[in-house]
């Protein structure tokens, strides 16, 4: 305990390397934004495939979702990293990270979106059919927004978890925020201060992401805007 009191936390060396932190932060944000979009597309496609009346796409989507949801992201990223290179593809670490994160979050989004689509009342689907809409049109014009509105909080949490999980890509030498921290602490010999700073930045990023999703929700769900609440 005495040593704790003697020891003073010194952040000057870390804050002096703010440029590195900023670069890392920028890459973390980029990774998050890109994979939120790609993951959402893949996830929604898989949710629709899983609900399809055709056996094959439903099974493929189910296997994909279960495989990804029951293995750690760290192992997934290694499999993708070494799998792609053994197939002869030469991708940069950032590209591999984007692919792995997309595959990962796609599976989680698929489960969430499926729950959303399942929550749409049967009458809505029947009404869409009676109006002569095709299945695709029914999903697009009738089901998508109300489904998203219902599962929007889970979707938001999942995307924040995705942003935090992007820290794991530092393990394949992607130079995002955590990798920047690893580098800074090896230069300054101040690991405690460095990782505290990083933790605060991640905290700020997740709050910012939450705020961004809240604003987006206000924008795309008019009902929420009018009522000021969820449904």
């Amino acid at each position: 305990m005495a040593r704790v009191l003697e020891m003073k936390l010194d952040f000057t060396a870390i804050l002096a390397r703010w440029q590195m932190l900023l670069d890392g932060m920028a890459l973390t944000i980029q990774l998050a934004v890109i994979t939120i979009l790609t993951g959402f597309l893949i996830g929604t496609a898989c949710a629709i495939a899983r609900r399809s009346k055709f056996r094959l796409p439903a099974t493929i989507a189910a296997v994909y979702v279960e495989l990804i949801r029951n293995t750690p992201f760290l192992v997934q990223i290694f499999v993708v990293y070494f799998g792609l290179s053994s197939l002869g593809f030469k991708f940069t670490a950032v590209t591999v990270a984007i692919i792995a994160l997309t595959i990962n979050v796609g599976a989680y989004t698929a489960e969430i979106m499926r729950a959303g689509f399942d929550s749409i009342h049967r009458g809505q689907w029947e009404a869409a059919e009676c109006l002569g809409l095709t299945r695709v049109q029914a999903y697009w014009h009738v089901a998508l927004l109300p489904a998203m509105e219902r599962i929007y909080p889970s979707l938001t949490s999942q995307f924040i978890l995705l942003m935090l999980a992007s820290s794991i890509t530092s393990q394949i030498s992607v130079e995002e925020l955590t990798a920047a921290a690893n580098f800074i602490q090896s230069e300054t010999y101040r690991p405690l201060e460095t990782y505290i700073v990083i933790a605060i930045i991640y905290l700020a990023l997740s709050l910012a992401l939450r705020l961004a999703f809240w604003l987006l929700g206000m924008l795309i769900f008019p009902r929420r805007r009018r009522l000021g609440t969820n449904l």
């Binding site: 029951n70 750690p72 405690l192």
Partner: protein
């Protein structure tokens, strides 16, 4: 040197899987104990406790587990607390799990119908009696499926302990890879082993959810009938 994966490698991986389970259990027990305190704090009538536990949850859930692990493993030694990789991983996971379980269990405590709280109060039970004899038994039943589901997350997240050199399943895979360099096949086997640990639990949790939902429905129809 032989570059094929042999039985020794598989035994090594299985030993790694064993340590993954040990670490998961540590995290679950540690995180469960702290998580219960957090859940009680979050639902406490004392405002200060609510803010304190709420802040803890916000901070932990807004930080990657990897960074928590680095703070504990690399940061604490500079202020005089050196931890072995296993203890560091166990402590980080405990912190991480407690925030999530605390939040899950808070939801479960709040899901116990208000009438039950009031009824217990009307029966002149003390606050402790009310919690232990009336609320917790019902909350435990509600909490079982999501808790089992979350234990899958715990098992998966123990893989991060490999980063600080604790030899669990993922680290065992890395070590074998260093000697025979067959990354793709090794990590596929590692993934398969993780899947074998997690998938049964996922299925079990889903089954619990279904029976729980149907039991709830049956209770509702019984009441309305």
């Amino acid at each position: 040197m032989n570059n094929a994966i042999n039985a020794t490698h598989l035994t090594f991986l299985l030993t790694g899987a064993f340590w993954t389970l040990v670490l998961s259990l540590m995290a679950f027990v540690g995180g469960g104990v702290v998580g219960l305190v957090i859940a009680l704090g979050r639902t406490s009538p004392v405002r200060f406790l609510r803010i304190l536990s709420g802040g803890y949850v916000q901070i932990v859930q807004g930080t990657p587990l990897l960074v928590i692990l680095f703070v504990v493993y690399f940061g604490l030694p500079t202020v005089g607390y050196s931890l072995s990789p296993m203890l560091a991983a166990g402590l980080s996971l405990t912190i991480y799990v407690s925030a999530y379980l605390g939040e899950i269990w808070r939801g479960c405590l709040e899901a116990v119908p208000k009438a039950q709280w009031e009824a217990a109060e009307c029966l002149a039970l003390s606050k402790t009696q009310r919690m232990v004899k009336v609320i917790l038994p019902q909350a435990v039943r509600i909490a079982t499926p999501p808790t089992v589901g979350f234990s899958v997350q715990i098992i998966k997240n123990t893989s991060l302990a490999s980063v600080v050199g604790f030899v669990e399943l993922a680290r065992a895979g890395q070590l074998i890879n260093n000697s025979i360099f067959q990354p793709f096949s090794i990590y596929m086997i590692v993934a398969l082993l993780y899947f074998c640990m997690c998938f049964p639990i996922s299925v079990f949790s889903r089954r619990l959810e279904r029976t729980g939902a149907s039991r709830l429905k049956a209770a509702e129809t019984a009441v309305s009938a």
